[in-house]
Symmetry: C2
Subunit: 460 residues, 2 copies
Amino acid sequence: MAKKNMSMFVACFVSSLVLNLFFIINLYVGEDSKLGLSWSKKAAADAEAVAAISCSGHGRAYLDGLVLNEKGFPVCECNSCYGGPDCSEFSPACAVNADGGDPYFLEPFWRQHAASSAVVVAGWHRMGYSYSDHTFISQELERHVRILHSIVGNAVTAGRYIVFGAGSTQLLNAAVNALSTDNSSMPAPIVASIPYYPVYKMQTDIFQSIIFKFEGDASLWKNSTSDATVNVIEFVTSPNNPDGQPNKAVLSGPNAKAIHDHAYYWPHFSPIPTPADEDVMVFTISKLTGHASTRFGWAIIKDKAVYERMIQYMNLNTFGVSRDSQLRALKLLKVVIEGGGREIFEFGYKTMRDRWQKLSETLSKSKRFSLQKIAPQYCSFFHEVRESSPAYAWVKCEREEDRDCNAVLQGANINGREGSMYSAEDRYVRLSLIRSQDDFDLLLQRLNKLMLGEEGAKPL
Amino acid sequence: MAKKNMSMFVACFVSSLVLNLFFIINLYVGEDSKLGLSWSKKAAADAEAVAAISCSGHGRAYLDGLVLNEKGFPVCECNSCYGGPDCSEFSPACAVNADGGDPYFLEPFWRQHAASSAVVVAGWHRMGYSYSDHTFISQELERHVRILHSIVGNAVTAGRYIVFGAGSTQLLNAAVNALSTDNSSMPAPIVASIPYYPVYKMQTDIFQSIIFKFEGDASLWKNSTSDATVNVIEFVTSPNNPDGQPNKAVLSGPNAKAIHDHAYYWPHFSPIPTPADEDVMVFTISKLTGHASTRFGWAIIKDKAVYERMIQYMNLNTFGVSRDSQLRALKLLKVVIEGGGREIFEFGYKTMRDRWQKLSETLSKSKRFSLQKIAPQYCSFFHEVRESSPAYAWVKCEREEDRDCNAVLQGANINGREGSMYSAEDRYVRLSLIRSQDDFDLLLQRLNKLMLGEEGAKPL
């Protein structure tokens, strides 16, 4: 019996040794193949090391950030008013940035979806100029853009052509160029309704074209669209930047052409009552996924001749959109589309709605400032009436003497963008609500302090 | 003694069990932390799975390729004349592509440097519009561009400004725009020496500008540069596309401005006698690293006012270059710069020189075709006299009746690009030598067969 026990004991010991041998071999030989990773491991480890750099929740380090410290790691890039090596130093006297349109409000969403949204680009990834169909447009990405619109219900794409651009920015002039008439008696007037996005004018002006010219306020051209020799081209931004209104074209007639800029027509910022179905529609991921820096947008075009002119423009301007941007946009859209888009749009709407409510409540404490009003609408994406959740506050200084509203806010350490940038009065100022939570919290804090001062100074 | 042996035995067994336990815990808990990888693993595994798809050495699958098969994997994209699901089917009757400038000749280099050239992009990587200095230009990348030029010795960058563009393409018009005079009596004439790259004309034409106009052959404007009211702007391509010649500006005088396109001024294609030091120089990674699809180029500018106009153009045209492209370009330039650049330039020169020698030898078998001659020069990068290794063959059909040289080659199943595309005679044809080894081998084979026919038809 003792001998039998001893044999079993030895057998167990041998088994244990064999198992250890297996583990040891596995450890030194099989690790790579077990994970299936070889050449990508170093890049993955580099990216994770940078992502792990602590910036105190008030910033982040990037792979391509400035390398200043002796370790060779990129430094933290801090939210405004935060500084120091790890963004932990708050500057109480610093002016809060409510100016820029950087869409950092979606950054937490992408951190929560780190595994599904990362992209690994091999060194030899797609080196040639074109895709397999000899175009500069990824068919896979175009397919995902169409799926996206059918899920969100914000644009008709069936039977429409799609052109890619470096953000919506590049597409704006591509569309202007395509809609302008060659050899006409005068350049096509380019117009927009006040208040309008300043890039429309600045971009149109810089090209100093024979065939188009920026002419400002659309309403002045209402009676001028019957001239059959020239198109009048209207930028229609809906929802509008800066004021979030669901704009419609003010010009009509056979020679009135419109470029519908739908950068903000996503459930984050606006109810989606019906799919847009205009002749020329422009979209961008900058305000959809928040990846402004990827520079990826698209236009949906009804007319083949307009589409072909836009494609030719894109090809000669830049040989199409960076294929690296297209690869990343594809990955991001896949995440957006997962689960019918509910996750990102619920996150986006909740964030924007919460910010809008807090801002409205704060500004309602005084009559010195007023906010734009946007009517609630039925949203076919969320299947319910949704209250407004705009990307920007379009604040009006109501006091007669507050003609420079931005200066008033600057007095309270808030940097907004003056109304005259949007061809409106400086009695208006645009405050960006799509930046980081730090920026919004600080904006709200400064506004609350300003309101308290108001309360003290004037009876409510 | 037996008891002591037994104790040691038990101790060994227990140790072995503890080791087993350690390995087992490690297997199920510690794997991620052991490699230091978490959120990037899935993306890395996806990229490696696609890279592992077998395309028989005649093609490659890409992460963003068409997904047609039931497994959901992207399909192989084959070199020209290869097909089938794994690119193993050769089509003997197919015309070889010697037309396009896709720089696949460097693909094997990047496959050999897979670990150092891969990039992992986190979902939240750099979402805002600008870098930490509020520009659209990565300081880290600009620093690497300057290091690159100092290593290669092909351009002076000290005290110069740098502008980024979507390839050199976007920079060409940015430079034209910046060098043109506002409010002048006539549009600035844009000229180039024949044979010239067709995009100069096509791009200049599409913008239909008030301030510049493409006027063709530079030599016709030699006596027109004394008019003090307007600049004449000359594109100088050096080495030239299509013929590889080290061109100089033909115009001079106070109103002659030049845009030096140095896309091919790298040791792959040309000896580097001295650093270029012109007022406006344009470079691109398309022909340096071979990443045409990344759309990344840069201009080196002497004059601050010209630089500022170009920056303004880039900002309003596209809000700068895709930050994803800049991230990838940074990684690629780091690999190029490693070891002083010798590895990639030796690979590139060896490949191009080998192709040129084989092509020259083949075409020398008959007098029906002639090739451009490029004088050897001392190369300060390789520290020796280097023979020519141009990107393209500029082939001339010498027989009186062969007025359409491309048609002659098409008869032998070779697709080149006709001379008239470069504003030259169709007696010339451009053959691309920078494509995949498959394309080059097939081109050579077809040319050899054509030469054999020549031998049979005519006494040598």
